[in-house]
């Protein structure tokens, strides 16, 4: 308990926040769409309520309208009221709202990088909240900031005061955000997907921290997420949102044990499932690498002498067979993606790389070109990997125009139609543009672009991490199906062990560019040997944080 609030708060039965029949409508270009439709829920003091739903279900919009942070007047509230401690916030004007915002109700956002001002130090950003709402002086603000930082688990808080956001890791930034949110001892904390942008291991730590802080301060929490695993761990009650409505509400345990609504059942069932293809040591080797190293030189001084190296990938051996999947797991910064890029010869590396028995590590970019059709890449972000100015047909056909120049326009179009059908998209939509598709569909387009050339090796760089849970499951099914049909060799890079377990039959655990543990997937998942792997497993499957020092912060 902080010194500023000496009397302990009691968990009372009267709700702290109650949202009644709240609707949110957006009008744009004369059209009005209803994003949130008569939603009601309430949070008691000290309680954690989770709002669950997929992207576009209106969960973030509901949360933002509590503090009226939506873009008014494009957004409006056709109906509803938000009572916070008896006061209707919907009717309040900006001045009254500012007294509540950041003071009694505070928020944590999804993206810790963009929610902190890159030009201000940690001290200044946290101190600003204190000075604004509490009228603290410089010295008092500094002391309180220090106290907050150490409370949210930032070690050497004193040194970190002068740090800028870019000097902190993602987890640390999110901790600073939490410190800012807690600065004024809020009664309610709204957390909008606070861990989605973080590694699983860091996610577990942050959730642990939030839970501990909440218990200590008796603060209520509204937790917004699409990840049911998190909900199970952190929430007391759950509201499931679907298309702007709350379709089911209840205690966490009840919802998980006996879901009543079809959509909840669907969400609960939507985990990446199934098993990878059986390992087959006799299958032909497609990709083989020995002692692959990617070292980035560090240059210092006036003459830019090389004084050291960042060893992104440091001596990795790898064999990928046709029809098999090698999963590469590790935290961000462990060199997984760099390894994949080196193998597909997108960046230069040392060490032998053989594709189909042929050495490719000494080939130039130009002489790699004929091989590109057989080795394809699916990128992480389906929003960034499709050119916004090209129609889907042009995007998918681009590879054909390079590797199969002889095709006539009709033949090419037929191939595009075939491959779009194969990845489960309506081929009639091929002249539409990427922005008209959802995340899952975009990832299907990206997969279609890779598949149209009938490759033998595909590098999948976190293809599911930008997608909703239920869409992840579908993409995993699709990938497995394609692999079986075309005997593809996959290099599957992910920090999400659930997805890896559903796809990979061999796993490499990486940390700081080196292999920590490797072996058949069954072995790794059932009997992890190193602490690091165990920590990864705990974070991914039970959302449990590892003891300090095993994983990064």
């Amino acid at each position: 308990m902080s010194e500023l609030n000496p009397e302990p708060r009691l968990v009372s039965t009267s709700p702290l926040l109650s949202v009644e029949n709240l609707s949110v409508a957006f009008s744009q270009g004369g059209k009005t769409t209803l994003a949130v439709d008569e939603v009601s829920f309430s949070i008691a003091k000290g309680e954690t309520l989770a709002l669950v739903g997929e992207s576009g279900s209106g969960k973030s919009v509901s949360a933002l309208s509590i503090l009226k942070l939506l873009p008014y007047p494009a957004a409006s509230h056709p109906s509803g009221a938000v009572y916070f401690d008896g006061e209707n916030l919907i009717d309040d004007d900006e001045r009254d709202l500012r007294k509540v915002r950041g003071n009694r109700i505070s928020m944590i956002f999804q993206e810790p990088m963009s929610s902190l001002n890159p030009l201000h130090t940690v001290e200044k950003q946290v101190g600003e909240v204190l000075k604004l709402h509490r009228g603290f002086g410089d010295k008092a603000a500094r002391e309180r900031t220090l106290e907050l930082l150490s409370k949210v688990g930032i070690r050497n808080a004193e040194e970190r005061l002068g740090a800028y956001p870019h000097q902190l890791s993602g987890g640390q930034r999110q901790r600073v955000m939490i410190a800012m949110a807690l600065a004024n001892d809020p009664d309610l904390l709204i957390a909008d997907e606070p861990t989605t942008a973080l590694d699983v291991t860091v996610q577990a730590q942050i959730l642990e921290l939030l839970k501990a802080l909440q218990a200590e301060r008796g603060m209520a929490m509204l937790f917004i997420t699409h990840d049911l695993g998190i909900v199970r761990r952190i929430a007391d009650r759950v509201c499931v949102m679907y298309r702007g409505k709350i379709v089911e509400e209840g205690a966490t345990r009840t919802i998980f044990d006996t879901p009543r609504h079809g959509y909840t059942k669907h969400l609960l069932a939507a985990e990446p499932k199934g098993h990878p293809p059986a390992a087959n040591v006799n299958a032909p080797v497609v990709m083989e690498a020995e002692d692959v190293k990617v070292w980035f030189p560090i240059r210092t001084g006036l003459l830019r002498r090389v004084t050291g190296h960042v060893k992104a990938v440091d001596g990795i051996d790898l064999t990928i067979r046709a029809g098999q999947t090698v999963g590469v797991v590790g935290e961000s910064g462990s060199g997984k993606t760099t390894l994949g890029l080196a193998l597909s010869r997108m960046i230069s590396s040392t060490g032998e790389i053989r594709f189909d028995g042929e050495r490719i590590d000494d080939r130039s970019f130009g002489s790699m070109r004929p091989l590109r059709r057989q080795m394809q890449i699916v990128f992480q972000d389906p929003y960034g990997s499709l050119s916004p100015r090209m129609s889907v047909a042009d995007i998918v056909a681009e590879g054909l125009s390079i590797h199969e120049r002889g095709l006539s326009a009709e033949e090419r179009d037929r191939r595009v139609v075939d491959v779009l059908r194969e990845v489960g998209l309506d081929a009639a939509a091929r002249f539409r543009f990427p922005h008209e598709f959802s995340g899952g569909q975009r990832q299907r387009i990206a997969i279609a672009r890779a598949m149209i050339l009938k490759p033998r090796f595909v590098m999948l760089d976190e293809p599911t991490s930008a997608l909703d849970m239920s869409v992840q499951a579908q993409v995993v099914d699709l990938l497995r199906d394609l692999q079986k049909r075309h005997d593809l060799a996959y290099l599957f890079i992910s920090h999400d062990l659930k997805v890896v377990r559903a796809l990979a039959n061999e796993v490499i655990v990486m940390r700081n560019g080196k292999v920590v543990e490797r072996g058949p997937a069954v072995e790794i998942f059932d009997r992890p040997r190193t602490d690091y792997t165990k920590a990864l497993m705990a974070a991914a499957f039970d959302i449990k944080a590892a003891p300090t020092g095993v994983v990064s912060e």
Binding site: Q28, L34, H77, G262, K265, R369, I402, A428, F433, L453
Partner: protein, 410 residues
């Protein structure tokens, strides 16, 4: 919130009510890809304009001032492109002794009409009489070209616009006064004459054309060079970029005006020489924007995806990166265009521009300065320039709105 909207939302909401048992199916459908296509209806044909461009055109039209400016400018530009048919000292069509002649296109020697000069002077009263006696001719609305001297000016040059004079004064220069057949509306000087008794309106029409054409040629030419240079620098980066940037720094520090003076002393300055010299330096304006755009976009994931497909460098630059850079370039274009026109006018004003006798707005302004007793010279030059530049700036603003990413993706 008014009741009508509430009712509508209510209806919508009822329409979306789902039977609970079907929710799972619908949810699966929603997320499985096929059913989630935003608007309903088949789209099997390739749309003529991409959705982005359609939205841009809508945004452009939404800026009423810019939209109308485009129409007015387009009208003026097309009219002046056909300046020879609007203001000329030759008739458009002549019927003489049963045969048709097209003096606008062909130089007929005067012996065709019974004279002896190598090229017919259709404004000569003798010729007019001869042709009218043996046929007819159709004149353009203004019977002067940019270099035609009015040999029957009402007052000594520069003479005032005709509507400031009385009927007698207007025809004072003609042999038979008010009754002279030459004293018709086509021979009047709507904006007066300059100090060499040339019709100001004709000169303004031709001057508008040459200014806009020069501006367009300069803008398009330097856009081509600048975009190509910026693209190469931004895309390849590293040493290419470093060396090129230093070169541009040196290049753009050369004083253009002095160079023009020197070159004007060696080469006779004409349209093409001037265009060439100006283009040598004006392309630099585009490099910065395009280079920045390419530097930013070359690591976009879709560019990497194209690289992974084996797409060649120049194809990537052209297909994936150039559209990004074009937005910045196109936004720039109208302003560069008006800048080019201003530069040409300034050079003409100083006497360093187009050769003497060419129809140029800068020269008209200089005349206005030298003949303060004839305010129509300065006013005409000023008004035409102001109109042209304002229209271009308004169009430029509308283009900027149209390409504003916050509007086209919002």
């Amino acid at each position: 919130m008014d009741d009508a909207l509430r009712d509508r939302l209510k209806q919508e909401h009822e329409g979306r009510e789902l039977p609970e048992e079907r929710a799972a199916d619908i949810a699966r459908e929603q997320t499985s890809g096929i059913a989630q296509l935003a608007p309903a209806g088949e789209l099997v044909k390739r749309p003529r304009l991409s959705p982005i461009n359609r939205r841009r055109w809508r945004n452009f039209k939404a800026n009423r001032r810019g939209y109308w400016s485009l129409w007015i400018f387009g009208f003026l530009f097309i009219v002046t492109l056909f300046a020879e048919f609007v203001a000329n000292d030759r008739p458009l069509l002549v019927e003489y002794k049963g045969e048709f002649y097209y003096p606008v296109f062909v130089d007929y020697p005067e012996e065709v009409f019974g004279g002896f000069l190598p090229v017919t002077d259709y404004r000569d009263p003798v010729n007019i009489e001869e042709i009218n006696a043996n046929g007819w001719m159709i004149w353009p609305p203004i019977r002067y070209s940019y270099d035609t001297k009015n040999l029957e000016p009402p007052t000594p040059a520069p003479s005032a616009p005709f509507w400031t004079l009385s009927q007698e004064e207007r025809c004072a220069g003609y042999a038979q006064g008010v009754d002279d057949p030459g004293c018709t509306i086509g021979n009047m000087n709507w904006l007066g004459t300059d100090d060499q008794v040339r019709d100001v309106l004709a000169r303004v029409i031709y001057g508008f054309r040459i200014s806009v054409l020069f501006g367009l040629a300069l803008t398009i030419g330097s856009a081509f060079i600048g975009v190509a240079a910026g693209a190469v620098q931004g895309y390849f980066g590293g040493w290419v970029d470093l060396i090129f940037q230093r070169f541009i720094e040196i290049w753009s520090s050369i004083p253009v005006l002095y160079l023009l003076l020197i070159i004007a002393a060696v080469l006779p300055p004409g349209f093409w020489v001037l265009l060439g010299i100006m283009m040598l330096f004006s392309w630099v304006a585009f490099v910065g924007v395009v280079r920045a755009e390419f530097l930013r976009a070359r690591n976009f994931e879709y560019v990497n995806a194209a690289r992974a497909l084996g797409v060649g460098n120049f194809t990537i630059m052209f297909r994936h990166l150039l559209p990004n850079a074009m937005v910045a370039t196109l936004t720039f274009l109208p302003f560069i265009l008006s800048g080019s026109i201003t530069t040409l006018t300034a050079l003409d004003f100083l006497g360093l521009g187009l050769p003497p006798g060419s129809p140029s707005l800068g020269e008209l302004l200089a005349q206005g300065k030298n003949n303060l007793q004839a305010p129509w010279l300065g006013f005409s030059g000023f008004l035409v320039l102001a109109l042209m530049l304002s229209l271009l700036v308004f169009i430029g603003e509308a283009v900027r709105d149209a390409f504003d990413p916050r509007k086209s993706f919002g």
